[in-house]
């Protein structure tokens, strides 16, 4: 693909990203089938804005996020990062020392606050790890930075929290530590994988507000992965919907929620319970479907469940993502 320099405020551009996992097979045997966890996904994240990646579990959103931080190596595709110093870099291609350097630009916040902190390491050890691993600053600098960051994420006074162990913290506090750890090396971009889904409701808002505040303050963009449309609406300016490894719709948040075009998005929106007993909602009924995209058929992935599908949808390849105006993109033949 062409490598153009993006001067339009794009921070990250993902093109044709794929991740296929072999099923069966091993050291001496080739796998016969594959899980097409992420299949040809493309999107862009603007500077100063956040993109919500929405879909049910197993749709490939977490895998996509992990590829952006190179926890998985993409099977194919590009992840173009617009870096202030070096210009454009393809994160999918970098290796070795260069990869280590670019890890400073992209960080991740994990879903489970109880698993993302090493139980034997103190808060200080956890937050300082990126600095230590990247060899930034000496001990005094590092202590100061950790203390400063703990203050910023609301764990004040920093001195009392610095040397606590994870089991002495609540879920919300642990997630704040995870946020501090992600921010300490000054990334431009953070992948947040359902960071609030395991937290209590009254804590959730605090953490989400903190993330927004920090995003504004430090000019960080998020790829916010979630299954909860309401949370995505609150946190993100744009939303992309994934289904079985494919992107089916992408638009600005309010536009997507007001005028969903893809049948899956419509079904999703209609299925969200409303916190108001007087309002009724009409669910768009779709048939039950398969869980994992193993060796998917060559037609539209949503064909089996779609209430509007017809023979055309069955006889042709999976539709491409097309712009229907104003940046609202859909992958559907029926729109």
């Amino acid at each position: 693909m062409t490598q153009t320099t993006y001067t339009d405020g794009t921070l990250v551009r993902v093109e044709g990203l794929k991740k296929h996992f072999p099923v069966g097979g091993g050291l001496f045997k080739r796998a016969k089938s594959h899980i097409y966890a992420v299949d040809d996904v493309s999107f862009a994240i603007q500077k100063g804005k956040s993109l919500g990646l929405v879909g049910k579990s197993g749709c490939g959103k977490t895998t996509t996020g992990k590829m952006l931080v190179r926890l998985y190596d993409p099977t194919a595709g590009h992840i173009f990062l617009n870096d202030v110093e070096v210009g454009q870099v393809d994160l999918a291609e970098v290796k070795g020392a260069q990869l280590k350097t670019f890890r400073r630009r992209v960080q991740m916040i994990f879903q489970d606050p109880y698993e993302s902190l090493n139980p034997r390491r103190t808060v200080f050890d956890t937050v300082v790890e990126p600095l230590a691993v990247q060899g930034i600053g000496d001990l005094i600098d590092r202590e100061e930075r950790v203390a400063g960051l703990l203050d910023m994420v609301g764990l004040t006074p920093a001195n009392t929290f610095m040397f606590r162990f994870p089991h002495e913290l609540s879920g919300g506090q642990r997630q704040r530590v995870a946020i501090a750890r992600a921010l300490i090396i000054d990334p431009t971009f953070i992948v947040a994988d359902e960071p609030t889904s395991m937290l209590d409701v009254s804590i959730r808002i605090g953490v989400m507000q903190l993330m927004q505040e920090l995003a504004d303050r430090f000019a960080v963009s998020y790829l916010y992965i979630t299954h909860d449309l309401a949370v995505a609406r609150y946190m993100c300016q744009d939303i992309a919907v994934m289904y079985l490894g494919k992107l089916v719709e992408m638009a600005e948040t309010e536009e997507l929620l007001a005028h969903p075009l893809h049948p899956y998005t419509q079904a999703l929106i209609s299925a969200v319970p409303i916190p108001d007993p007087r309002l009724q909602r009409e669910t768009l009924e779709i048939k039950g479907g398969i869980a994992q995209p193993i060796d998917p058929p060559l037609h539209c992935r949503f064909y089996d469940r779609c209430p509007f599908a017809d023979n055309f949808c069955r006889d042709n390849d999976h539709p491409l993502l097309e712009d229907k105006g104003d940046g609202h993109k859909v992958a559907c033949y029926k729109v």
Partner: protein
């Protein structure tokens, strides 16, 4: 505004090493409280303390109350007594049982003398030190080998895993005592060599599988992934995140290793395969070589104290290991 500029306004006061010391002491105290709850552990610890006292007492006694020419465990010889081995001097009818030149004090030989005229109690006490050393050394080697092997094979998987697991299978399959007998006849074994060989063989053996399976669960934990996202090298992840979380598990097997090492030494000494001067096993071996082993209860003092010491010290470590279970595995603690 980047993170670096925003954080250099907070001062941290206490030096890091002192904090770590304080934290280590606190976690030790917690561990001790839990350990204390189980009477088994305290009994085991008490027995170990008893043997420890024995080991310390020996050089003190030699220096003060026991003349070395009589009481040295290797070279001593009691000229006062005509026939060796002789029974303990405090039994009733000592005068008739023991043929001596002069009447002897009741405390002269609390456990009698061996066929070569040396004081049995002295032998018992002096051996304690080397038994401890053997056990500790073997345990240490096992922990180091087992943990490293488990962590590395789990982390890298693939070919490395396969090779080491097959070696491990081989080691498990080999019958241990015949192997040691063969090795003992080929090489000149000292205590230290035995500790090393035993430690390595056990390190490769069955326990590694347990450690490896634990390491496999740790490998996919979010904090390991976070370390990789921060840019941590493979070595860093293995030794900072995997190994410390594996050590408690390895520690448990350590206790069992001490038990077995002491026992194996006794067996090998019995077969005369170890080139060491004095140990509890040697004591039994001498008894057997002089033909007193399978005779009646008359010569109980020749082998019973040594045998009992072996059993007691082994059980002591085993009991401590069992009590450590609750400390190491939080789920086994009482609510």
């Amino acid at each position: 505004m980047n993170v670096i500029a925003a954080t250099t306004s907070v001062r941290v006061i206490e030096p890091l090493w002192r904090v770590r010391l304080r934290l280590a002491w606190r976690s030790f105290q917690t561990g001790w409280d839990i350990f204390r709850e189980n009477p088994i552990g305290l009994i085991g610890l008490g027995m170990i303390a008893f043997f420890g006292l024995m080991a310390i007492a020996h050089p003190l006694l030699i220096a003060t109350v026991w003349p070395p020419n009589v009481y040295d465990p290797l070279m001593g010889y009691d000229k006062e007594i005509i026939v060796h081995p002789s029974p303990p001097t405090w039994i009733p009818n000592a005068a008739t049982e023991i043929q001596s030149l002069r009447p002897l004090s009741r405390f002269r030989h609390i456990l009698g003398t061996d066929p070569l005229g040396r004081d049995v109690l002295s032998q018992l006490m002096s051996s304690t030190q080397s038994e401890f050393a053997l056990g500790m050394m073997a345990a240490l080697v096992t922990v180091v080998v087992g943990t490293t092997l488990g962590a590395v094979t789990a982390y890298y998987g693939g070919v490395i895993d396969m090779i080491f697991m097959r070696i491990s299978d081989l080691v498990i399959m080999l019958p241990f005592i015949p192997l040691m007998i063969v090795l003992g006849s080929m090489f000149d074994f000292q205590m230290l060599h035995l500790a090393l060989v035993y430690g390595i063989l056990v390190g490769f053996g069955g326990n590694t599988l347990v450690i490896k399976s634990q390491a496999l669960t740790l490998k996919v934990k979010a904090y390991t992934e976070a370390a990789r996202v921060a840019g941590g090298s493979n070595l860093h992840i293995i030794f900072t995140h995997l190994v410390p979380n594996l050590l408690p598990l390895a520690f448990l097997s350590m206790m069992i290793t001490v038990t077995n090492a002491i026992f194996i030494e006794a067996v090998l000494s019995f077969f005369g395969l170890i080139n060491i001067r004095m140990s509890w096993g040697i004591m039994i071996q001498i008894t057997q070589a002089a033909g007193y082993l399978l005779t009646s209860w008359k010569y109980w003092y020749l082998m019973f104290p040594a045998g009992l010491s072996i059993s007691l010290l082994c059980s002591a470590f085993y009991l401590v290991g069992r009590a450590m279970d609750a400390v190491v595995n939080p789920r086994l603690r009482k609510r």
